[in-house]
Assembly symmetry: C2
Homo-oligomer: 204 residues x 2
């Protein structure tokens, strides 16, 4: 564990994001369920109460970490997509795989991040479900990817209406099950194979 920082100025300068950074790091290392507000404050070199000027309670801080991680996941998927340019069916298929792999790889790198954003700390209210989904960047990435596949003929037309929910559910489910040890790691590639074949993706 890193030595708690000692600062010279009374005012920290950017305590809010310093707390967020420290909390993010510690969530990755130990899981959100073991995060201690006091430990975060100590790591930043500040008294426990100081945190309450920026976060109403410990759970608010955790939620903010979650919000940031949602963006990071989307970033990671976007980066993966950028490595697969092109407009044809072949490229569309490669993007589909890249998208799924990125999801799984991101989760595998820091399982505690994945657990946080899809666990109880970050669950959405019933009201905002529809809004949330349509505005989520990751969801839109998948949508355009499937639309590309559809246009280039790399997706069975009759399955188009189900492609999004099927893909997202399967990729998310496999990732979650593998991370918690209910499926072996190598089953993710099998899942992708199965998804492609069952959706008729990339049939030559």
């Amino acid at each position: 564990m890193a030595m708690p920082k000692v600062r010279e100025t009374y005012h920290h300068g950017d305590l809010e994001s310093a707390l967020l950074d420290a909390a993010t790091k510690m969530v990755g290392a130990d899981g959100a369920e073991h995060l201690s507000l006091r430990a975060v404050a100590a790591e930043v070199g500040v008294s426990p109460s100081a945190a309450y000027h920026y976060y109403q309670e410990k759970d608010s801080l955790i939620s903010c970490v979650g919000a940031r991680l949602f963006e990071e996941l989307a970033d990671f998927q976007e980066q993966a997509l950028l490595k697969v340019p092109g407009k044809g069916a072949r490229a569309a298929r490669a993007r589909f795989r890249a998208l799924g792999r990125a999801y799984f790889e991101w989760a595998s790198m820091e399982p505690n991040f994945f657990r946080l954003i899809f666990g109880c700390y970050c669950s959405a209210d019933e009201v905002e479900v529809e809004v949330l989904r349509d505005n989520s960047r990751a969801w839109r990435l998948l949508q355009t990817c499937l639309e590309d596949l559809y246009r280039t003929g790399g997706l069975i037309p009759a399955l188009r209406p189900y492609a999004e929910i099927l893909t997202w559910s399967a990729v998310h489910g496999a990732t979650a099950l593998i991370i918690e040890g209910h499926l072996p790691k190598d089953s993710f590639e099998s899942l992708l194979d199965g998804l492609e074949r069952s959706l008729g993706i990339g049939i030559k």
Copy 2:
């Protein structure tokens, strides 16, 4: 909150399972992350330390709750299967849907149960993954269901090798996403439709 019990005998009689029962109830109501050992002991009418004769630590108790819930989920799915007898393709297809629905319904009834058994408290070691999966009752239910479908011709043969992982991943993923509010509730039926169509289940 129920009044803490007061018992007359010094020895409780069946403290181990009483603690398990109380813990299970409280996990359902408040989530495993908010479970308090002291509260469980108080509910049973016993001092906090008494629990340590049966569970090494708080997390052991939680894990035991999880183990019981795994069985309950399998029971629930078995019950759902019993309502759909028959040997033909039609029955096999109905069982397939019943299995998926049971999974989702069980999780919807008590989301905190689902969160517990598929969260960090119940994750399996890497070593026991293979053993665990093959010995899991729920997994075998799905296996025989898909085998029935395959034999009766209600499943595209080329997809047979992928059917299990695809189905489990998709059903689990959709359930998890819906429970945490990332997908609307009614999308589960769409998912089942999509799964059936993409696997070629029940094509007349």
